[in-house]
């Protein structure tokens, strides 16, 4: 596997500064990270960057992107990202949304219902589960929440270490605060989204870990039912954090889905 040279910089999207990590060669793919932020390097990113130019923006108010104090909901973030893609001259880039990032990606898709570029939702939040509940991170510690995202308990230590650093805890706290600002009530979903999805023609892959304990499977089924051009895929031996539990499987699935377009 070729070594990827990753670079990062700040891009202004309609006045909102966003920290963007870029690497790899090929057709562009934008990855929208989770509510717990993202590590700067992941085997999953490296794998995808073998075939694509991968762009990983830090959400406004998460990681190294400063917080826009006015942002009040997830749709605001989706609009900021539409402005970012316009600024980068990549308005048609395929988007891969992981968990909370999947919710942002789904909101973005509703703004451009005619878009033909592919969309990938992985364990996406954003819809009220027809059965079950989205796990409430407010009731558990940062560490308990992230641990609950793994299928393989060893995955936590492998990615974050047995005892995460104070810097990592500060990051999780910042991310959590911003998630509360935009998704506190109702928690992690938008009641109008299932209705708006019906008009989205975008070809969508709805991917889910078979052991997701954060977002119930019923949400995947609802996305697949409401999006007219959706395909579903289940990843075996994966929790909510599919990209860390099964990086190779997920990267392969995404690349072939994009290539089939």
């Amino acid at each position: 596997m070729a070594t990827i040279e990753w670079k990062s910089g700040v891009v202004s999207a309609g006045g909102t500064a966003l920290h963007v990590i870029r690497g790899g060669h090929g057709s562009p793919v934008v990855i929208l990270h989770r509510d717990i932020g993202t590590l700067n390097r992941l085997p999953f990113y490296d794998l995808l960057a073998q075939r694509h130019e991968v762009l990983i923006p830090h959400h406004p108010g998460y990681g190294e992107s400063p917080r826009p104090d006015w942002a009040a909901n997830v749709r605001d973030i989706a609009v900021i990202y539409r402005a970012l893609l316009a600024e980068l001259e990549l308005p048609e880039a395929p988007i891969v949304g992981l968990g909370f990032g999947g919710w942002i990606a789904a909101e973005m898709a509703t703004f451009t219902p005619a878009a033909t570029t592919p969309l990938v939702l992985v364990g996406a939040m954003g819809l009220k589960p027809p059965s079950g509940e989205i796990m409430d991170q407010a009731l558990v510690s940062y560490i308990e929440y992230v641990r609950a995202g793994f299928h393989d308990p060893k995955g936590f230590d492998g990615n974050y270490g047995n005892s995460p650093s104070t810097a990592q805890l500060v990051q999780w706290d910042l991310c959590r605060e911003m998630s509360f600002r935009v998704a506190w009530k109702p928690y992690m979903y938008n009641d109008s989204l299932p209705h708006l999805l019906r008009g989205v023609r975008t070809r969508t892959l709805v991917a889910w870990g078979d052991d997701d304990r954060i977002v119930p499977r019923s949400v995947a089924d609802l996305y697949a039912a409401r999006l007219p051009n959706a395909t579903s895929a289940t990843i075996a031996a994966a929790g909510h954090l599919v990209e860390m539990d099964q990086p190779e499987q997920l990267a392969r699935l995404i690349s072939s889905f994009i290539a089939a377009t």
Binding site: L139, Y142, T166, V170, W184
Partner: protein
């Protein structure tokens, strides 16, 4: 000197073993363990004790509220305040206080408080708090907007009390088409506002700049002095020098006929493992966004459950007695200890957290009687010697904003 009686209103008959088994006694401890028949008896005992405290000579009854936990049965301070408005004749009814961010309609709060003030014939002191971390979760108030909601709700309530309606309010968190309640406070321009807290830098500075007395909640003498230093510095910035009338102090204080009996009962102050708010998961006490960004780095290990609280180190009963954070004894012993606190920290307001935990009703009443009849008269003498005046005695303006407006009116 203003001297008050306080109790957390403990649900003392909850099954402690159930809490020990699950490891917490708040927020998620099931209310299947709540016994309304027992609670009905306890509520009525608390009411009897408040009325008794007035008979025994206290100046004020301090009330508060918490949610989802046996350590405090008051889920709405205004309910007891309303009852006491009708049942008592002389004492100040001191709410410390209404948790503003938990309210989605501060105008409604302003109305309730105005009614309490009128029914009590002007005896209300209307303190405001941000509410503890777990209260945000218990009532689904967004912790990330806690401070913004506190300040905006405060501004709206004060405006409702002082500016004739109707007016419209379009804030960030509160929106009111018509503010025009036909219920206004009897006290003019409005009831006094006192702000209780521990050591939150922002709240101390805010209270000082508003000119509101700050009530330090059972802090050590050393921490209390740090609070006054912060308060005084902030007051100096806006151009005034605070006195004892700006300073309040809550102390756990149990009095009995013998020292042995007092110390035995006072151990109940640590009934929930020494935690004021019961045992809880640290993340409930500090939901993200609730604390100041400046303390994020020092708090995250605690919130993650990997270190002790940086702001509230655990102490044994003996240590707390030695540090005068718990005062227990005969009236003479208690007076000696409290005089030391008064000399060191010079408060104009003192609240006595008289009973807690599983203390018996007779012991609670003995403590109230000895506090009111023996301890408080001695402390009033000391207050005279030390010139410790309450906000009432000092005729302190209700706020800096009011004092400024009044001054410019007078100048015109």
């Amino acid at each position: 000197m203003h001297l008050m009686y306080f109790t957390e209103q403990p649900m003392k008959d909850y099954p402690a073993e159930a809490g020990l088994e699950i490891g917490f006694t708040s927020l998620l401890m099931s209310n299947k363990h709540f016994n309304p028949a027992v609670a009905s008896r306890l509520y009525n005992e608390f009411l009897e004790n408040y009325v008794y405290a007035e008979e025994m000579g206290v100046d004020g009854i301090m009330l508060n509220e918490h949610h989802n936990a046996p350590f405090c049965m008051q889920a709405k301070a205004n309910v007891f305040a309303s009852l006491l408005a009708g049942m008592t004749k002389r004492v100040k009814i001191v709410l410390l206080g209404n948790p503003l961010p938990l309210s989605d309609n501060p105008v409604r709060l302003a109305e309730e408080l105005a009614m309490i003030d009128m029914i009590s014939k002007g005896r209300l002191v209307s303190g405001f708090v941000r509410g503890g971390g777990q209260e945000q979760l218990a009532t689904n108030a967004n912790p990330a907007y806690n401070r913004e909601r506190f300040q905006e709700a405060h501004d709206l309530i004060v405006k409702t009390w002082t500016v004739p309606g109707p007016f419209r309010w379009e804030g960030k968190h509160y929106h009111q088409r018509v503010v025009n309640p036909w219920a206004l406070p009897l006290q003019q321009p409005h009831p006094r506002i006192w702000i209780p807290g521990v050591i939150s830098h922002e709240t101390i500075v805010w209270a000082a700049k508003q000119g509101y007395p700050y009530i330090a909640l059972n802090t050590s003498i050393e921490d209390t002095k740090k609070i006054w230093a912060r308060y005084d510095a902030a007051a100096a910035e806006v151009g005034y020098t605070p006195g004892p009338e700006n300073r309040g102090y809550l102390i756990r204080c149990h009095v009995a006929e013998t020292e042995e009996k007092a110390l035995e009962s006072a151990r109940q102050f640590l009934w929930m493992d020494g935690e004021f708010t019961g045992r809880l998961k640290p993340v409930w006490a500090s939901p993200s966004g609730y604390f100041s960004p400046s303390s994020r780095e020092s708090f995250v290990q605690f919130v993650a459950g990997t270190s002790a609280s940086p702001s509230r180190p655990r102490k044994t009963f003996e240590q707390q007695v030695a540090d005068l954070q718990i005062v227990a004894g005969t009236p003479g012993q208690v007076v000696a200890s409290l005089r030391k606190i008064m000399r060191e920290t010079r408060p104009g307001i003192m609240a006595f957290w008289g009973n807690d935990g599983r203390m018996s009703q007779p012991d609670a009443r003995t403590s109230i009687r000895l506090l009111g009849q023996e301890v408080m008269p001695a402390l009033r003498e000391t207050a005279k010697e030390l010139d410790l005046k309450s906000p009432f005695e000092a005729d302190m303006p209700v706020s800096r904003a009011w004092a400024e407006a009044h001054r410019s009116e007078a100048a015109e």
